[in-house]
Symmetry: D2
């Protein structure tokens, strides 16, 4: 860490802070400039540094503290240089194959789910998505069929062979959801629910961690670090768009995040163009873009009858549109050296 | 709700949608224009409308659905025109007096807490704040002393008579926290953790609901509606800054939200200039501004030695700075017809 | 346009507004609901509607006005359904070929420019970019070599045959810049400088219109409408990233904007992954993504020695990196049915 | 400036960069840590540093460059510690009195302007605002009466004695506008139009510089530095809201910016609650807040008949509402030790 003193800091201030640092066991490297004095803090472990930073910025004669280490370790590239591969029921995420997760936003009925599952399987999807527990902005909206939906998902898996990804919203449901799910999804609104992150960290079920709407890339990696530090390394990072001033789309899909995560972390990266755009008409283009940018897979909403969907109809593809998109995505994947 | 058809919608499309609406029990008001056709949907209850909106936007010949009712009821001005007053241990929030909640970010030690509590009481604060369970971006940071901290808060209340506000992060801690807290704080990162909102809704302890970093005012009111719809009407809305592109401050304090909430809702509004700015040097100005804008109170971080604070030192006031600020705030409160 | 009255509007209010609308020559379609009254305004021309909207929202008993027509015409899809093609010195933008514009941020010296021009030509670029007049956040930074740089660009065009795109910042320089440039670039900070937009609209030189940092897609199309309404239809829309809370990248490249513009407008869309990311290490991935999403071309910064570049070194590619990127981009272009 | 090397930088890399810096005439202070090496660059002038920063960040073994000096000088607090006072026709901005600028968005007719001018004068305003040249998002909207409007403003000044503030959008209009205006307004969309900033810098007419919608505080001060560095020190900084994800209000008024500017700069700060909120119902509260936060004045839109206003009717106050607001603002001003 580097501490930059204000131009009004006195010699006495400087000596005080150096003494304070030494008393905490840090090495100190002093650089007295014409305009400003800079103090290099040596030997601290990361977690301590962050705290020290906050404390010293509180001093009136400190202008700024600059951290020179990353605030995460286990999920960082320097911890593991080759990419993490996660295998669920024979499907490997993070390998040569770009993985396609598809299905309805919400599990509504057995018919709706089976129709969706068969359609996405026929078009080449590898994993079935479907919501059993649903977060909704309004308390009066539909919140999912819960356990009943989990059972329908299991039945769809039995028939199609597709592994299941589904959201867990509450630590108290974790045991139940884990009985059925092959991948646990943490939604955007829970992406900094640290209690829940720790709990899925204690589990060994793979986790799909969505980015929160206002979460920076480095904070997202720290959220993943919560899971990893509790022992679960099977984490996929899912970009689903961030909230910006643009209103034509539901969110702004942050395509930069895909190569950025690839240079910062060893974890697989999944793109969610359905939430990233909020408009079915834009999903295929952003899916192609994500694969071209290096995503390890996509998760996309498909509904047999979007106009009758309980939730997210506007961003759901019909089976026909999904199938057409898959044909195009296969070509793009091949162009970047991947199969689908 | 109003459904605007695309200019390429056919007569057949129009008839289909009208039939569909009638089959769902809605009244329909058709307005066929030169450029576009607009369908008014009559008689639906709010919650249904939101769902219908999503479904119809999925139709390729529908351009847009416009909701004409508010997505919340119980917390809205039309439900209750006069302001809600909440009383905790003799302190009334939402009345003529602007209420001051102050104390350290985190309960660190008995000494630190008692010193803080005495100082804020002496300067005129009405309620003591202090964190027992702390959300931290990094898993390696300090997460609070938990139950032990709650007990220290209770001891500080015993001595000073100040009621306590403290955060609850996990539904599983709710019972414990409720035993000690006079006001339950829901933090920004849990502001859309709907499981937790429902649980504090089932409680009868007053709730201080912070705004999430990327939460719109209408979504925030829907989060409050979760609590109210579960039966707990004792809700305070706490503006604590939103996340924007500006980096000089930690957050952008949304002063507009104060009068906006006052015209949309009957709930008391509290300002948090500590998180809203992230800089101790800006706290007093934003506190004065909040009271001048009509806030019913403030919550502010005070630490006897900010440079030694475990968290949020940079935004914590010293007791002396807090006391000086209170003198100024009193004058501003009087100027807008309130006492402190 | 649709006017939604507040729930407290009286019959008298409603009659007043209807009369007012009729007096202005509008047709009126009234829909009195249980909760709210909705007035449809018929027959207005677009420009009038926008003004009427502002006026009526000022009335205390009007809750909201909803526009149902697009605020632009000439650049919209409904004005021209097939895509606009723009040809400069034999290079067609908006056709089957994805067009690559490359070169240094700033024209520094004859050697630097010629080295850049030869390198990008050798790697397959179609158009040479280079700044003669440079906007800089600081008044003390370098502002470009002006006319001298324009002459160097012309010399580079003479040798390589590559047409030139360069920025014009001031209406007073337009004549000079137009003498040399094949395409006039309007920079992000001038994207709503309406005087300048009108002037390039009066010109017939093709225009590359960058999106402003906080400009919505619909506002961007209105900026293009300024140019088109003055008579110049040769406009390319250039996505270069928007400003968000994310700080790891310089801007957030809005990949959604590419298919969104394609469904709203007939104008060619160009991607600028250099400014869109601000980091050379991310440029190739976002370039591939843009082409996969349907962009008609890219504009990218290439410098023979990025570490010596006067500006934008951090986001400039070396000739070797550019050449390697081009190989990959060719494959992606082929996958979406385009040549390069 | 501080250069932080990547953990993979070799000794050779380090020596190269040190040599490079010395060759440019910089002093170097080397700090080799266990994890990372940090190089302090000594003796550079600000403007050079910024350029060096960009160049060195381009090197693959440099992780980050951290500037330790402010990117502006003349407008900074360290250049001049006491606040700048600007006097126009006897009205002093930046002194003990908080200054009120009020009037219609746009000069429409002589009657409308005179009615507005008399009303705002009667309620206690010190300066008359009114637009002669108007930026509009749509090319088809009204763009102001230009010279004719300037003459009407001068007539209103003759009658009421109120000095005039009006916008200049184009350097080519500067001479004409300067003949009539007492204060030149630079609008938000031109806040980084550097050609125009330089031109008003060459003038000696006081300037009201609005903040751009996506402009950071430090960039805004650099825009002011453009004007100051050309010789015009009579600059007022006008906060008018920034663009965020919130849609209930037109912009998010950044109240933090007021005390932030006061600690960074000696220039007077003016608040524009009309654009900062976009809603007449919120203007009074944000005006009170701005004065309480330390603003040196406000600029506010008042129209005799907001519902007939050509532009900005929704955010314009009636004379009666303005007058009532002034009564409240006087009390708040007094509470913070200022007159009005």
């Amino acid at each position: 860490m580097i501490i930059i003193l204000s131009s009004n800091a006195t010699d006495r201030n400087r000596e005080d802070i150096v003494e304070n640092l030494k008393a905490r066991g840090f090495g100190v490297h002093l650089s007295v400039g014409v305009e400003k004095t800079v103090i290099g803090v040596i030997g601290a472990m990361d977690e301590q540094k962050a705290e020290v930073a906050e404390q010293f910025e509180a001093l009136p004669f400190v202008e700024r503290c600059v951290s020179i280490s990353k605030p995460y370790k286990l999920v960082g590239k320097s911890f593991r240089t080759e990419g993490t591969k996660i295998t669920v029921r024979g499907v490997t995420i993070g390998g040569d194959q770009a993985v396609v997760m598809a299905g309805p936003c919400t599990v509504e009925t057995e018919e709706q789910l089976m129709e969706s599952a068969r359609a996405v399987k026929a078009a080449g999807a590898h994993i079935l998505r479907g919501g059993a527990y649903k977060p909704s902005t309004s308390p009066y909206s539909f919140h999912g069929h819960g356990l009943e939906a989990l059972k329908m998902l299991a039945a769809a898996r039995d028939e199609t062979g597709l592994p299941i990804v589904t959201e867990v919203m509450d630590a108290r449901d974790l045991e139940t959801v884990s009985e059925y799910a092959d991948i646990l999804q943490i939604g955007a609104r829970n992406s900094q629910n640290y209690s829940l992150l720790r709990e899925v960290g204690n589990s060994r079920v793979p986790v799909l961690l969505k980015r929160g709407m206002a979460v920076k890339i480095e904070e997202w990696l720290q959220a993943a670090e919560y899971i990893a530090s509790a022992g679960n390394y099977n984490i996929m990072l899912c970009e689903r768009g961030i909230r910006t001033f643009e209103t034509y789309t539901r969110n702004t899909f942050d395509i930069n995040a895909i190569p950025a995560l690839k240079e910062l972390s060893h974890l697989p990266v999944i793109a969610d163009p359905s939430h990233g755009t909020g408009k079915a008409s834009l999903v295929a283009a952003v899916t192609r873009a994500s694969i071209a940018a290096g995503a390890d897979g996509i998760i996309v909403e498909v509904h047999p009858h979007p106009e009758k969907a309980i939730k997210d109809g506007a961003q759901s593809l019909t089976p026909a549109a999904f199938s057409a998109m898959m044909d195009d995505v296969r070509k793009v994947a091949a162009a970047v050296g991947r199969s689908i």
